[in-house]
């Protein structure tokens, strides 16, 4: 198992498209790192560069301390699982899993031992004689993982491995992959556009946009301390509310003033906002940090906002409200026992200790 390091890695295609810009990343030994971002953000290109399937335009990639820029994929000691599984259609499951070992001239009994061991771990022992077309999506997925683990590589690379599966199977495979990670104690780099996959599986999430890394952090960090507006909006569902606002000095300290409401900044954040007084900022608050006043713990006039309910979406465990506050629509996830009805008035309470403020120009987080 090994550490993977990206040092100022840039990928520019022949048609001058910059796919990855100056990426720096350290994947520690045995770490499960997820590259997350919308399609076209460069996450798959990054993974393919680590695999050796794409050339690096600038910068260096290290695996286990060695520069691998000019090393062939087969000599990098990596294994990759593809989105469409990429099983060899004319080979049986057994042959698919054994193919890499055969090419590496492993003795026959060693190949057999490893293939059967991997099949046992993945629960596909009865499928070994079948061809890929006789398997379901979930089974193919397992075979693809099996083909990777028989090689016992230093690094596992996963390229959106679950996105071709149906929702239920995806949840199941998610936990299985996580268990597998614990069992194999492997370094895993995993690409996905699904934030739930990223949050549930990753030790560390790398969020990318337009070829640039936006933030690297634990799921907790990227959720609670997003580095910029993009990360704040991308992580979390429903997405964070963003409102254009002005920081003003008022009664008892600093206030966030928007076109539709005014809420007080908690004392602990005042220092950070000192340079932004009377300046335009972006105020952010997550739907889960907004409460229906009837169920709020500490409602005060300083953190309560008045609005008209636009849409009510009951989910059973919680209810999503779209509330018109001035010109803005605020989304709140509230207690399912809420009495809110469409077109009626409601008081919303913001948990201001969990507020976010972003610089209007750079969109970087201030709080």
């Amino acid at each position: 198992m090994a550490q993977v390091v990206l040092e100022n890695v840039t990928k520019i295609y022949d048609n001058k498209v910059v796919a990855v810009k100056n990426a720096n990343l350290v994947v520690e030994d045995k770490e499960f790192v997820v590259l997350l971002g919308p399609s076209g953000c460069g996450k798959t290109t990054t993974l393919r560069m680590i695999a050796g399937l794409e050339e690096v335009t600038e910068g260096k990639i290290y695996i286990d301390g060695k520069v691998v820029n000019d090393v062939e994929p087969k000599d990098r000691d990596i294994a990759m699982v593809f989105q469409n599984y990429a099983l060899y259609p004319h080979m049986t499951v057994y042959e698919n899993m054994a193919f890499g070992l055969k090419l590496r001239k492993f003795p026959k009994d060693e190949i057999d031992r490893r293939v059967r061991e991997a099949a046992r771990i993945l629960g596909i022992e009865d499928l070994l004689d079948r061809k890929p077309r006789q398997l379901s999506g979930g089974q193919r997925q397992r075979v693809a993982v099996g083909r990777a683990i028989v090689r016992n590589p230093k690094v596992f690379l996963f390229d959106e491995p679950l996105s071709n599966l149906d929702a239920k199977l995806r949840v199941q495979m998610r936990s299985e992959l996580k268990k597998l990670h614990h069992r194999l104690q492997a370094t895993i780099i995993y690409v996905t556009h699904d934030q739930v996959e990223a949050m549930t599986m990753a030790d560390k999430i790398v969020i990318m946009k337009d070829g640039e890394i936006q933030q690297i952090g634990t799921p907790y960090e990227v959720y609670n301390n997003p580095a910029n507006v993009f990360v704040a909006g991308f992580i979390g569902s429903p997405a964070m509310n963003f409102v254009n606002a002005r920081i003003v000095r008022g009664e008892g300290g600093l206030w966030v003033q928007t076109s539709g409401f005014k809420v007080k900044v908690p004392k602990e954040f005042e220092d950070k906002l000192a340079n932004y007084i009377d300046k335009e900022v972006i105020f952010g608050i997550r739907p889960h940090d907004i409460y229906d006043k009837l169920f709020a713990i500490a409602p005060t006039p300083e953190n309560t906002v008045f609005g008209i309910v636009d849409v009510v979406e009951p989910l059973g465990s919680e209810t999503i409200l779209h509330v018109k506050v001035g010109d803005e629509t605020i989304v709140a996830v509230v207690n399912p026992k809420t009495q809110a009805k469409e077109d009626q008035k409601i008081d919303l309470v913001f948990d201001m200790t969990r507020m976010h403020v972003f610089d209007k120009e750079t969109e970087k987080a201030i709080i």
Binding site: R48, A86, Y88, F99, G100, L103, R147, R151
Partner: protein, 279 residues
């Protein structure tokens, strides 16, 4: 009343199709009839279209013996099998490179293969003849084989490349990571998946090369090297042609590609209709 309209349409359709089939089969049928007639029946009784009044197998014997068909069959079989396997091997390699690798001039090279298909062979008769004389390939079976391979390469490469690009590129990537080199990927991954296409192409090529008349006529002179299609012309005299023997010989010659097609038609149809592989 819809069913009646449909019924009428179906009737018209079948009548039309039957007409086409009959029209198509007439020359073939007449050739079969002719092969079983005596020369007297054709020229004295002027019986061209009707079935023979007396059936005779003599023509086949004459065609085989007098026409030295045995020798010609061996020559043709040799030329055809080497040409077909050579063409398939080279064109599959070319198609492999053209569909999986990026290199300079990739597009122009592909265009060249396609453009080569569009040049009428007749235009090349004299240059090919001169070239073969110059290089000493004239009147050798090797020469015929090389020219067949050269002329079929364009179409085959184009055909195979269009199949290969339908194979998902992740298979190629997966094989690279598994440790396969270029030739292993070609032989172990891509070729097995190309089986239907290769079989279809093999049948097509076999038929074309087996039936070829032009190149053999241009490139071969000595009797022992002739192919069957040239051999048949021996019965064509200046004033009188032995049509019954030519017909019998033609049937013998044609039987080989027909048998090949019947044996492999399963692959042929699959190769032409399937777009590579599915999941």
């Amino acid at each position: 009343m819809i069913s009646r309209k449909k019924w009428l349409f179906a009737l018209l359709f079948y009548v039309f199709c039957t007409f086409i089939v009959v029209l198509w089969m007439i020359p073939f049928l007449v050739a079969i009839f002719t092969a079983f007639k005596t020369i007297d029946e054709i020229f004295m009784l002027r019986n061209f279209w009707a079935p023979p009044r007396t059936w005779t197998f003599e023509n086949f014997k004459v065609a085989w013996k007098e026409g030295k068909m045995g020798r010609y069959f061996i020559n043709t079989l040799w030329v055809t099998s080497i040409s077909v396997s050579g063409t398939l091997f080279l064109s599959s390699l070319a198609a492999f490179a053209l569909s999986w690798y990026d290199f300079k001039m990739k597009k122009p090279i592909l265009m060249m293969f396609v453009a080569g298909m569009l040049i009428p062979f007749q235009m090349l008769l004299i240059p090919v003849y001169k070239f073969s004389v110059m290089t000493g390939l004239y009147d050798t079976l090797t020469g015929v084989i090389l020219f067949h391979i050269a002329f079929q390469l364009g179409f085959c490469t184009f055909f195979l490349r269009n199949f290969m690009i339908t194979i998902p590129s992740s298979l190629f990537d997966a094989a690279r990571i598994d440790g396969a080199g270029a030739f292993t990927i070609y032989a172990k991954i891509i070729m097995p998946l190309m089986k239907p296409a290769m079989a279809a192409l093999a049948i097509l090529e076999f038929t074309w090369i087996w039936n070829d008349y032009l190149w053999s006529l241009i490139l071969l002179q000595s009797d022992v090297k002739k192919t069957v299609t040239i051999g048949l012309t021996a019965f064509q005299g200046q004033w009188i042609s032995s049509w019954n023997i030519i017909a019998a010989g033609s049937l013998l010659v044609a039987s080989v590609p027909v048998v090949v097609f019947l044996v492999f038609q399963r692959y042929f149809i699959r190769g032409l209709t399937f777009g590579g592989i599915k999941g």
